[in-house]
Symmetry: C2
Subunit: 645 residues, 2 copies
């Protein structure tokens, strides 16, 4: 295993595409979500989240309200705040977060237990339903928040609390006699414990994470025994996936297909990849690789969305990728970004970064309104608004983003990802520096006795050029590995303006030299419009193409193209027939893509429903495409990604 | 209103296509279903139906079992038996039916009440939930059975029982003060009462039928009041159709779109058309016409299936005709045949007979296995077996017919239709004789002082010729109106071998003359393979064609074409490029249709899921089509009707 090393922390993103989104997420999203957690958004479903902590802390009267895992929303919000404080210091916000943490910590029981659902409703029931009641899930998110907040601020209050919590969990659950041999119904604590391990170096944290991965699905099946012992219901008993909904139908080491609840799958695979790397466990890494391939080679939408079915928010079967009944939860795309990043750390392969980029720019980013205040849970690739209302199988698909959700996992998830995006750009393995994603900013690192700063200038994803300027106080011998995206067929490297030859190995082009201050490495990627097809085994996309450019998937909206988008056809248009235009005032600034296509008409049909006599009639039509992530920012309307020739 | 007159009863079907199906239905289906009603089919869900009658009659111990409307299965079976006895006398079967009727009659209460659910469970609850508990539905089917059995055998036992039942209903429900101002949650009693009226001439029966049509949906809404008064649940409160599920969301006279539960819709419209005709009510006929157009011009599959969604077994919205998640209940296609026949009686228009034929040969007939012993509830136009198992939205779609159903409305429905099919062929309006469907056999009628027999010879639907020989003992002046199907673009009439000119008026070509004994009228219809397209507003069929010939829709099955049928393409094949062949030993004898088409291959794709570089690769492929009704008679496999060019 030759991964791409360790994250280069401390990178900055200070201009360009992501900078704008991150500003929105931090300036609008974080305050908005704090108000949501405190039930202050008019017209939105109340969260009750902070209320629950204050009740558990004895500060407020009332009962527990909301989902059993409501605490996790606060945790994800705190995690997002922590990331934002690294690059957007805000003492007022930090004070709010400190206050929230105080509520959380004060709600903790003396034995370290931390879940307000059971603290408020009675501790007798705790740890009796690991399958459904999300205590370990909430714990996982709280651990992630604690680590992030400690790393960002140096403050230990929440970190100390989760250390007590983990000790409590370790005392109750594990392989030893007298403990519950269980594991979480909803993974996340695995990768959380691995982050905690990164801070503490405490083998106990790694051991517990590994236990949760390996115990999962082992016979006798813990969840079955737990159901029997505690009389818990098994909601999925008539489903095709049964306990695989919980990623527990078969032992993790035997899993071969991405199955069950997609978010749980992504989180578990991410944690497993962390454990495989920490342990140098090739067999476990093989399982991760197998599940990666199942996910991205047979069960992933072109947008990076995963989870084909609303039923169980789940994977279904190979090449089953319906565009209009898709689930494609925002959290699942975020989870795929997590998984991709960890596979990249395990193994240097451009495919991982390609998928990370695909999910990030498309199926994850689409989860947030451009104003940062509305969110999608479900990210469809084809929408007809009346169907969302009148067809029960599409009622989970919303034609517009919502203010908040009773189960509000997605909004803080996309915010915490955006707020920490600088951690996804660069990794380092000794003298090898890897650039995975292109974003304007910089990163600084020590090299020998010196310090090097790499300044990135790019207008990616609108343009395919990225320039890296090296700032160093002394000659700096290191290699720069630049990712050549899978979508890019022609590219050129130059150093200080002179072309250099380099092959892309495993998706990365490398220039190794002794860099002087001011040296510049430039990557120029051709970024034509691409007409992408799906593997012929994907029924729903047969005969169709998706218009893409760079990492972006584009779509048609009726705001630009009129209704009945299924009648729009590309005809013979090729990639080079498309015109592109930067429109700074449209949808927050986009490169719009246009071409001359066709539109089928119903001329002559009248009220006939079927006919062997009427020919296909088309008329020329200008087709206008906007980036998929930006859809549904202009009111309710139709949208489609895949279109006919 | 110039309809096509009265049914010419006493017609015979004694050879050809339908004869074989009817023999199967009677020889296999009727005995099989009797065993099913008595829980004697191994491996099938038990019916409990006859058990319930015997418990209600005090002959057996036990409770009521099965659906609340379980009695109706016996009624539909008795109705089918009645029809069969008209052309297939069978004293042993008649004795069994007489015994069943004795059970039914003995279960009746002295006040005329007849529903075993309440007789067994307690009469206190009767008439408290017209919305959901199907008492009037069961009554409707019992009336239809009684009329049919009386007409076939002259036996009055069941007829007298239902006359007492109707008097009981009339005493409890109606517009008068002190009665319940209700109507059935599931229509059928409307058309049943109209049939009873046809036998009794009792104005009360017509009045009650009309009341049920007109009261429906009137304010204050009876079902809402009933729910409130009796604490009944309203299952559909979150549905898009609300009380329109029951055809009661708005007054019938204001309805404009086919909405809600498709079978209820078809039955109600049928009863309303009967009432409109009996009353000569032009306004009511207009509503029927409007609902007809909504149904067949915007919401009907090419197979004549109706009901696009499994949720509520319901209509959805205009042009929403998904092929793989369709409901298309067998009963709804049967109901569309009922509706079409009644519209034809209201108004002479070929469209009604075209739809009747379309539903009969395709979406209704597909409900029965060729051996008469297995049945489809849902009739999809595209099936991928793994999806029926792994995709929750398609689990209602079965890739093979089932032995029986807990809710077994469909099997006896298709059997009773087939057993009575001779009543759908010919109608008479004075000296005008109409032929709506072509089937080998004969029909006899009085003309003046003589009797005329019309003998039909045809190999329809395999060939497009139909010859009518007149047998008469004296010169017979009458007009023969032969339907020229909407699918037929070229046809020729000849009398005694000499071509005659005639225009098709409203879909019927007419020859009026004084017929001599032995005169022959021949209709020769060109029957090429037709490549049918759907109105461009039908998204699911965009860019696709359905292969049809005569009244039959054809489909691809993997038994003939291999798996991955979505990869099959017609290419440039035109109707005239198809070869046809009569295969007597295949699927009970079919005309198979074949052409040279294409098959997309995944050559070069490897494990890539998306690519802008890989071209579409096709290879020549022989495509073999079989009639849609015959699909799924060769084991579990893929099927599709609509295919790409």
């Amino acid at each position: 295993m030759a991964g791409c090393g360790e994250t280069l922390y401390g990178a900055k993103i200070d201009r360009g595409f992501w900078s704008a989104f991150r500003e929105t997420a931090v300036r609008e999203g974080i305050p908005y979500q704090w108000r949501a957690l405190n039930d202050e958004i008019e017209g939105a479903e109340p969260s009750h989240c902070m209320h629950n902590f204050r009740v558990a802390a004895g500060r407020e009267q009332g009962g527990f309200e909301g989902c059993v895992f409501q605490d996790s929303d606060a945790a994800k919000w705190l995690e997002a705040v922590a990331y934002s404080l690294r690059w957007h210091p805000d003492p007022a916000l930090e004070a709010v977060a400190d206050g929230a943490i105080q509520d959380v910590v004060d709600a903790q029981r003396p034995d370290g237990y931390m879940d307000t659902y059971y603290i408020v409703n009675g501790l007798d029931g705790r740890w009796t339903n690991l399958k459904d009641n999300h205590e370990l899930y909430v714990a996982g998110h709280m651990i992630e928040a604690a680590v992030a907040y400690f790393q960002a601020t140096g403050k230990r209050a929440l970190l100390d609390a989760v250390l007590r919590l983990v000790d409590h969990i370790d005392g109750v659950i594990g392989p030893e006699d007298g403990k519950l041999h269980g594991y979480p119904g909803h993974p996340v604590i695995e990768m959380a414990l691995m982050r905690l391990y990164g801070v503490t170096g405490d083998e106990k944290h790694l051991r517990l994470a590994e236990y949760f991965v390996r115990q999962r699905g082992a016979a006798p099946l813990y969840f079955e025994e737990e159901d029997r012992k505690n009389g818990n219901a098994f909601y999925w008993k008539d489903s095709p996936f049964l306990y695989q909904y919980y990623q527990a139908g078969i032992p993790f080491m035997e899993q071969a297909d991405a199955e069950g609840h997609a978010v749980r799958a992504m989180y578990l695979y991410s944690g497993a990849a962390d454990v495989a790397r920490a342990r140098g466990d090739a067999a476990l890494a093989d399982v991760c690789r197998r599940l990666w391939q199942s996910t991205v080679r047979r069960r992933m939408y072109v947008t990076g969305a995963v989870g084909s079915s609303e039923y169980g928010e789940s994977f279904t079967f190979d090449y089953d990728l319906p565009n209009d009944t898709v689930y494609g939860e925002t959290c699942a795309a975020v989870g795929l970004v997590f998984f991709a990043r960890r596979m990249l750390a395990l193994e240097k392969k451009g495919e991982y970064a390609d998928v990370m980029e695909r999910a990030l720019y498309n199926g994850a980013l689409s989860g947030m309104q451009l104003d940062g205040k509305r969110f999608f849970y479900v990210n469809p690739l084809e929408v007809q608004p009346i169907a969302c209302e009148k067809d029960a199988h599409k009622r989970h698909v919303k034609p517009e983003r919502q203010r908040w959700f009773g189960c509000a996992c997605c909004p803080p998830n996309i915010i915490r990802l955006l707020a920490s995006l600088e951690d996804y750009l660069y990794t380092r393995d000794g003298d090898d520096i890897y650039v995975h994603l292109y974003a304007g900013g910089s990163v600084e690192f020590a090299l020998g006795e010196g310090r090097v700063t790499l300044v990135t200038q790019t207008n990616y994803p609108w343009e395919g050029d990225a320039a890296f300027t090296v700032r160093t106080d002394r000659p700096a011998p290191f290699a720069l590995h630049l990712r050549v995206p899978g979508w890019c067929a022609r590219w050129q490297l130059s150093v200080n303006g002179e072309a250099v030859e380099a092959d892309a190995v495993d998706g990365y082009a490398c220039v190794r030299r002794v860099w002087e201050d001011g040296d510049q490495l430039a990557l120029s990627m051709d970024m034509p419009v691409r007409l992408v097809r799906a593997n012929p085994r994907v029924r729903e996309d047969a005969g169709k193409v998706a218009v893409c450019r760079g990492p972006l998937v584009y779509c048609l909206e009726d705001a630009d193209n009129g209704k009945d988008l299924h009648l729009a056809r590309l005809g013979d248009a090729k990639g080079e027939d498309f015109e592109i235009e930067w429109l700074p005032d449209k949808l927050g600034g986009i490169v719009e893509v246009r071409t001359d296509g066709l539109r089928e008409t119903d001329a002559g049909w009248g009220d006939a429903l079927y006919s062997a006599a009427l020919p296909v009639r088309t008329e020329p039509a200008k087709l206008t495409f906007v980036p998929y992530y930006s859809w549904a920012n202009r009111g309710v309307g139709e949208m489609c990604v895949w279109m006919r020739r």
